[in-house]
């Protein structure tokens, strides 16, 4: 009887320690998760900002100004343009 009790006590202690460790691990993992979520939000913010920046740099008016002003580009003479129908596109 006493042997069985001792055995059960040992099991109980082991279980209790296991519970404590797993709880600790859970908390640690959870805080990692939180940190990663914050990071993902920050990256989202960054993405939004970059998107905004990209569209500001890519404003049509600005592109046109740079192309015709700085780079000296101009749209080709329509006589030198050939329109090629896309394969698979409905017939014009």
């Amino acid at each position: 009887m006493a042997k069985l009790n001792l055995l059960l006590l040992a099991v109980l202690v082991a279980c209790a320690l296991g519970l404590v460790t797993s709880q600790h691990k859970a908390r640690k993992l959870f805080s990692d998760l939180e940190r990663e979520q914050v990071r993902s939000r920050d990256l989202d913010v960054e993405y939004g900002r970059l998107q905004l920046e990209a569209s500001t740099w890519g404003l049509h008016a600005r592109v046109e100004k740079v192309a015709s002003g700085t780079l000296g580009m101009r749209s080709p003479d329509p006589r030198r343009v050939r329109v090629v129908p896309r394969p698979g596109a409905p017939a014009q």
Binding site: S31, S55, A61
Partner: protein, 575 residues
């Protein structure tokens, strides 16, 4: 003597043991009652109190969906910002800190003092919607009584180019104008909340439950093409400036899908900084304003006449001597002509010819056709404040009204209604439903005109932009175009104001297989020229040329430079 007495023990009275027993029993009873009270009766309250020590409900923010053009370019994007607020009585900061705070928030130091000194309010916003970097610097000052909370701010990279179409949101992130308002339900996110356990330091240690999941708003892809939009706005703006006009509007539709490819107004505004906005800047002249269309309406009168079977494009209509008097009201032509064929009535834009054609029709026939092409009914875009225009019931038409309606006076409509009605000629008699959202597929329309009539009017409209017509300046190199000019006297307080005109042009291209309808309206050009053919048609040409190239539409005309007529050689109209 008993044995106990013999051992020297004193026999205690029995009542003493009883007293102790009763006392212990009572104490246990009290404990049991107390525990019953706490565990069973007040348990909920106590658990709540306990949870309140460590459990918190956090809001999970949701972002508003983006608005994109048909090629995926951003037209409206939300980015997180911070708002700084304070509890005025709690703020502890010395003079140097206050100066630094005012500097970071871009406030006058005096203004900051005024806000912090406001005794009536505890909660005071110091500055709303500041960038996260600045917010970080404010945080670094570690001022007591100064707090921040996250918000979203909407940015519009397109600025004034897409202002009227996209609209804007208020400071609370809800749509106030344009698409932002029309699609609020789709775009708006629903913030969620979750219950967590926090430790002594305020860090979240465990997620208990999610009360409501946050729902981010969905992205919305518009039918608008950013490049065509930009081109249209640029062309319209320079025309309005060149002709010193009060305002202008332009809309471009895809004939096959009914999608709106461009929609623009001048004067415009910058939706990113909306201080000092005037009503004129906010007005959306394409959708929510109406005007008397003038001669751009004549094709519909002629279509009604052709549909009735009374005339063919070659039938001669006598228009001499260039005026027609009905019930004391005289209709004039700008240039009196002799007998004109029906096709020439449209080409030369003869008011007398159009009036005579209209008077040969029953009012109901004409009204039916106007109604079928969408006049007098909102275009059902889902846009806030769509105008339906004014088309009076045919029973109340007097002959003179019927005659003036033939050339677009006495009824009003919005520019987008007019552009949509022209899809009837571009699509062999089908009226296409419009869409502001990208569909990417051909739409099926409602047949409102016979194919023959639609094709006949299309041929006449092509004639109207040839030399000898009213709109030769609408022609472009490489593609055949068709269209009609309009020069309407402007109604001011119910009567036609002298010297005030609305110049317009509506047309489509390529004429052999139309892909694009473009409508242009210029309000009160006042730099000398005011005819639709000289003011609005060049804008049409510029936008159509660029748009057809961007859409990759095959040429249907020889690539020879278009010869523009001199100012005097172009036919003119008076409506």
């Amino acid at each position: 003597m008993t044995a106990a007495a013999a051992q020297g023990l004193v026999r205690l009275p029995v009542w003493r043991a009883r007293v102790v027993l009763v006392a212990f029993g009572a104490a246990f009873l009290v404990l049991a009652a107390r525990s019953l009270y706490l565990q069973a009766l007040r348990t909920e309250f106590l658990q709540e109190k306990g949870e309140a020590r460590y459990s918190r409900v956090l809001e999970v923010p949701a972002t508003r969906g983006r608005i994109l053009d048909r090629n995926g370019e951003a037209l409206a994007v939300s980015t997180p910002v911070k708002s700084v607020w304070a509890i005025a009585g709690d703020v502890e900061a010395d003079a140097a800190q206050r100066r630094r705070l005012a500097q970071l928030l871009a406030l006058e130091p005096r203004e900051l003092e005024r806000r912090l000194a406001d005794p009536g309010r505890d909660f005071v916003y110091l500055k709303r919607q500041i960038p996260p970097e600045t917010a970080g610097q404010v945080q670094a000052l570690r001022l007591r009584g100064v707090y921040q909370h996250p918000e979203y701010r909407r940015y519009y990279p397109g600025g004034e180019v897409t202002a009227h179409l996209v609209g804007f949101t208020g400071v609370d992130d809800a749509g106030q104008e344009g698409i932002e308002l029309a699609f609020q339900a789709t775009l708006g996110g629903k913030p969620g909340s979750r219950r967590v356990i926090k430790d002594r330091l305020g860090g979240v240690v465990e997620d208990v439950e999610s009360i409501r999941a946050a729902q981010d708003g969905r992205d919305l892809v518009l039918s608008v093409d950013g490049k065509i939009q930009s081109l249209a706005y640029g062309a319209l703006k320079s025309a309005v400036e060149q002709h010193r006009a009060r305002a202008g509007a332009i809309v471009a539709l895809d004939v096959r899908s009914g999608e709106v490819l461009a929609l623009s107004n001048v004067p415009s505004y910058n939706p990113n900084s909306r201080a000092r906005l005037t009503g004129a800047q906010l007005r959306n002249r394409v959708i929510t304003d109406t005007f008397e269309p003038g001669s751009t309406l004549k094709p519909f009168t002629i279509a009604a006449a052709l549909e009735s079977g009374r005339v063919t494009p070659a039938t001669l209509v006598p228009t001499a001597p260039g005026q027609l008097t009905i019930a004391g009201y005289t209709i004039h032509d700008a240039h009196p002509q002799g007998a004109l064929s029906v096709a020439q009535v449209l080409q030369k834009s003869s008011n007398v010819g159009a009036a005579k054609l209209a008077l040969a029709l029953a009012p109901k026939t004409m009204w039916d056709l106007f109604k079928r092409v969408g006049f007098g009914a909102p275009p059902q875009l889902g846009f806030p404040g769509e105008a339906q225009g004014r088309l009076r019931a045919w029973r109340s038409w007097r002959p003179v009204e019927q005659a003036t309606m033939a050339y677009g006076n006495g009824l009003s409509l919005s520019l987008i209604q007019l552009a949509r009605a022209y899809t009837v000629f571009a699509r062999d008699g089908e009226l296409v439903p419009l869409s502001l959202v990208k569909t990417g597929a051909a739409a099926s329309g409602e047949k409102v005109l016979s194919t023959e009539t639609a094709r006949a009017v299309r041929a006449m409209l092509e004639l109207a932009v040839q030399p000898g017509g009213t709109g030769p300046r609408a022609r472009i190199m490489g593609w055949r175009v068709a269209g009609k000019t309009g020069t309407a006297r402007k109604l001011v307080d119910g009567s036609y104001a002298p010297g005030k005109y609305i110049a317009s042009f509506v047309g489509f291209a390529p004429a052999s297989d139309p892909r694009l309808v473009v409508a242009v309206m210029i309000d009160e050009p006042s730099a000398g020229q005011y005819y639709g053919g000289s003011v609005a048609a060049p804008v049409f040409a510029q936008v159509t040329q660029g748009a057809l190239r961007l859409l990759g539409v095959a040429h249907d005309a020889p690539l020879e430079p278009v010869e523009l007529p001199g100012e005097g050689e172009q036919a003119r109209e008076s409506t």
